[in-house]
């Protein structure tokens, strides 16, 4: 039996109090058995945080364990602050994606900003300098003013934080759907560079070493954020606003520089962000990873206000704080480095050899829990998974036939204006995309690409996911998210290296949600095996539910790819008149889950496109090999809106170009069995559009044959300011490229009131 006594003023432990902490009666029984006594209030808070889904993955762990995580490129797999993959010349890349959905639903600006702050810290605590940010956002329809408010606030929050810290936002995605109205999704990803030899982890070790808290002082903000993230949003969630933390990117920038200097100095043995569940999770996880005990005197933690209790100090999620383990004789050196960056560094505890997770208030013990068991004894649930019969019904459905089949030329304009497809310039213009002076391909392309100043190689980064497919068929949707990310990376010339995933779902306690989760993960795992892109970590966000129901299942894949030469990066747009246009891959009649059906009929249903993983792998190999041989002038993948939208995007050029290029494309001998709307707007996977100089066309064809990719020579690039002309067997589409640009680049801005 361990000893810990209540702190003066602690409330008595009642069944109501236990339930308020999101712990079940059964879990409470485990806690009492583990301690051999009733927990103190502070201990109850510690268990509540560490046994929340957010920290413990208690509902998802058995499924996450099926992910492929190994590979010759893997330096650090799941379980650390971020995954790490090997790059050439002794370099490595650390990257991770994380959700900040619940805070953003009640306070969009700070919720999103602190999401960016947290993911930055996850990366620089690996010893990596952040070099790119990405995000993945979902909102309800923009006709609703509340959703416009959320989008504007989230974008401003993401931008203000990343811009101030000085990390370029290189990409992302924004999509819309009714299910996100009460529960927007805000996922942030960070990518950092380090020398592999400089990698540091969060495992505390060395008995007698000193725990030092660096950065901001601890306030009453964000108490129980991790538990908040592990429950459904209700009308009462507005009252959770005080639990949303407030971000200070200026302090973050100082903390970033100080942390990297501390790591390089050799004065510390471990470092961990104080993120979800604050001091509790950082200290307990550091101890558990290192197999040691820790003892913290909470009275020594710098606080923003007097009178904070041990409970509050343990569970505060005040931002911009780090916990480091300093070598016993180097505390003063650590403090000197922190002082240079105008930060405080206060020793608050030490590493012990008794394996106990212990917190005191001066001499009085307020928390004493066997450290390993605090982490390991968290129950793991194997919940029931069953598909909702309504989804099977939806899959069998088709839209009601329209009274008049619209002309494909009109449909193209409708789709280019659709919020899912229209340019996201209004969003990414608010993110600094060129700071660090390394941006090769800025947002708006297939993937973001950066150079590495001291090396020849470059990195391609993207985030992708399509919840329409996942909602209809989670297995195919899971696969689709991975292969779309891979196509995007490969279009720029990057070889996909590995992924991080952010799995946004409803409550796992509902069998239909757990089914979606299990199947989507199976799809992700299968795709990652074929593409040889191991999962290096990520984040599970359950309980994305509002009174109107669960969000559509939204697994988001963050992928990193390697370009052998950054200066060979391939842009998305046509670049020179007379170039040859190839359509790669096959188009099937696959309109299930398409934007076409949603835009024309308001119908999200049908069988979503199937992913042929072997064909995707061949396409990726082809795109990477072609880029390395400098065969392509441009490459762009087909995704939402299909081939029609992809060809328009190839023609339109970038948002700041005066005009685009004409494109003359003949599809009369391609996709013979298909009607015009199917051929142009079906969202079959495994396709891309590339352009090349006429002299390279033969080499493109030869490479395609060698690698087993169908390459249809479809036409040529026309003059600047020309027209997009598509010839099909049963229709013709022709639009001046300036007209396309006008529609595509104004669609989102108009809805946002610009």
């Amino acid at each position: 039996m361990t000893r810990a006594v209540p702190f003066p003023g602690d409330p008595p432990i009642t069944p109501e109090l236990v339930r308020d902490h999101n712990l079940t009666d059964q879990e409470y029984g485990l806690i009492e058995a583990l301690l051999g006594r009733a927990p103190t209030f502070a201990e109850l808070g510690v268990f509540s945080a560490l046994w929340s889904e957010h920290c413990s993955y208690k509902h998802s762990r058995p499924i996450l364990q099926t992910f492929p995580t190994a590979g010759p490129q893997v330096v650090q797999g799941p379980g650390e602050n971020a995954g790490v993959l090997r790059l050439p010349d002794g370099w490595a890349v650390a990257f991770k994606i994380e959700s900040h959905n619940h805070p953003s639903a009640v306070e969009p600006y700070q919720g999103a900003a602190t999401g960016v702050g947290g993911i930055l810290r996850d990366v620089f605590t690996m010893g990596a300098r952040p070099v790119a940010l990405l995000n993945s956002l979902r909102f309800g329809p923009l006709e609703d003013a509340r959703n416009r408010y959320l989008l504007a606030g989230v974008v401003r929050g993401v931008g203000d934080y990343g811009n101030c810290v000085g990390v370029p936002t290189l990409g992302g995605e924004v999509d819309f759907g009714r299910s996100y109205s009460g529960n927007p999704l805000v996922n942030a990803m960070c990518v950092g560079l380090l020398r592999e030899a400089d990698l540091i982890t969060a495992a505390a070790h060395g008995v007698g070493n000193v725990l030092v808290v660096v950065g901001s002082s601890t306030g009453r903000d964000g108490i129980h954020g991790a538990s908040f993230a592990s429950e459904e949003l209700t009308h009462a969630s507005e009252r959770r606003r005080p639990q949303v933390q407030v971000g200070d990117p200026f302090t973050e920038k100082l903390l970033l520089e100080a942390s990297l200097e501390l790591i390089a100095s050799g004065h510390i043995v471990a470092i961990q962000d104080m993120g979800a569940a604050g001091l509790t999770s950082s200290s307990a996880e550091m101890a558990a990873k290192g197999g040691v005990g820790v003892e913290i005197d909470l009275s020594r933690v710098p606080t923003r206000e007097p009178g904070m209790t041990p409970y509050e100090i343990l569970l505060s999620e005040s931002q911009e704080r780090m916990l480091v383990v300093a070598k016993a004789d180097r505390v003063a050196d650590v403090q000197a480095i922190a002082a240079k960056w105008e930060l405080t560094a206060k020793p608050i505890g030490r590493v012990t050899d008794d394996g106990m997770y212990r917190a005191t208030w001066k001499e009085q013990v307020v928390v004493e829990i066997p450290g390993r068991r605090l982490i390991d004894d968290c129950p793991v649930y194997h919940l029931e998974a069953r598909e909702d019969p309504a989804v099977a019904e939806l899959r069998r459905g088709t839209p009601h036939p329209a009274s008049r089949i619209p002309h494909p030329a009109d449909v193209l304009l409708t789709l280019l204006d659709h919020p899912a497809i229209a340019s996201k310039r209004w969003v990414y213009e608010q993110y600094d995309s060129t700071v660090q002076a390394s941006t090769v391909i800025a947002p708006g392309g297939d993937a973001g690409v950066i150079r590495v100043r001291e090396a020849e190689f470059g990195l391609a980064v993207t985030t992708d996911g399509n919840s329409r497919y996942v909602a209809l068929d989670p297995y195919e949707g899971g696969k689709a998210a991975v292969v779309e990310a891979a196509r995007n990376v490969a279009c720029t010339g990057g070889r996909p290296l590995g992924i991080t995933d952010c799995l946004n779902f409803g409550s796992p306690e509902r069998p239909s949600v757990l089914y979606q989760f299990r199947e989507a993960c199976r799809g992700i795992a299968d795709a990652c095996r074929v593409l040889e892109t191991p999962v290096t970590g990520g984040n599970v966000s359950f309980y994305n539910e509002s009174p109107s129901g669960a969000v559509d299942p939204t697994p988001v894949i963050g992928m990193v790819g390697l370009l052998a030469r950054a200066d060979r990066a391939v842009p998305s747009h046509a670049r020179s008149p007379g170039d040859v246009v190839f359509v790669l891959g096959e188009t099937q009649a696959e309109l299930g889950g398409s934007v076409l059906w949603e835009a024309l009929h308001g119908f999200v249903g049908g069988v979503p496109p199937r992913v042929d993983l072997a064909a995707e792998r061949r396409l990726v190999d082809f795109l990477v090999a072609g880029a390395e041989r400098a065969l392509f002038r441009s490459a762009h993948d087909c995704s939402q809106g299909g081939l029609g939208v992809a060809l328009a995007e190839v023609a339109m050029s970038g948002p700041y170009d005066d005009t685009g290029f004409g494109l003359d494309v003949d599809l009369t001998t391609y996709g013979l069995r298909l009607a015009a709307l199917e051929l142009l707007f079906s969202e079959s996977h495994g396709r891309a559009v590339v352009t090349c100089q006429p002299a390279r066309a033969a080499a493109v064809v030869a490479l395609a044959q060698e690698l087993g990719v169908l390459a249809h020579r479809a036409g040529t690039v026309g003059e600047r300011g020309g027209a997009l002309r598509l010839r099909l067997r049963d229709a013709r589409v022709e639009h001046p490229v300036d007209r396309l640009r006008e529609v595509y680049f104004s669609g989102l801005a108009r809805r946002m009131g610009d």
Partner: protein, 238 residues
Amino acid sequence: MKRVAVIVFPGSNCDGDALAAAREAGSDAYYVWHRETDLQQADCVILPGGFSYGDYLRSGAIARFSPVMAAVAAHARAGGPVLGICNGLQILCEAGLLPGGLMRNARLRFLSRPAWVRVETTDTPFTCLYQQGDVLEIPIAHGDGRYVADERTAAELEASGRVVWRYVRDNPNGSMHDIAGVCSTGRNVVGIMPHPERRNAAVLGGQDGARVFHAMEARHATQHAVDVRAVGDRHLRV
């Protein structure tokens, strides 16, 4: 090889980019922390972009009180070349080393995109390698980039040819007279809102900004200004 001091304020985030651009142009560039009072015999000073002190009060408003700014002002008074980029321009305006000030963008949002600027004068230490009328594509990334000055100051800037760069094609932030950069009466203190250091290599899409940095190495770069070396707040003419 010129000695180029890149001042680092807490919250500077383009310091590394400016340092690299200066080095790639052949300069002996080094950092000077904002608490220092000695510019270590700098030939030239760069105030880089970023969010000094988080820009919490007003962009550049706190940085101008940093200890290093006395040395920068002394260097400028003695005719030494000073370049402020983005937040650096904001700081120079706040410090009174350049006229005018920078206000919230006209559309009230941060804006990151390419901009096109025309070189209006080659008579500064940082534009001497361009031709007057050259149009450069250089990225902008700022929330407070709208240049304002009172009518008289603006007229004076125009009359004395001290508008160094002007936005063309479009004015992204609502700056008066489309001003993207200005210089001091002595022409040695120069500020620019766009980021030339982000466009100095083919792999970044172009090199339109590179000559701003090469200019520091050019022999005639400091012909307009007396060549000075700052030691503490004293200046030696060399």
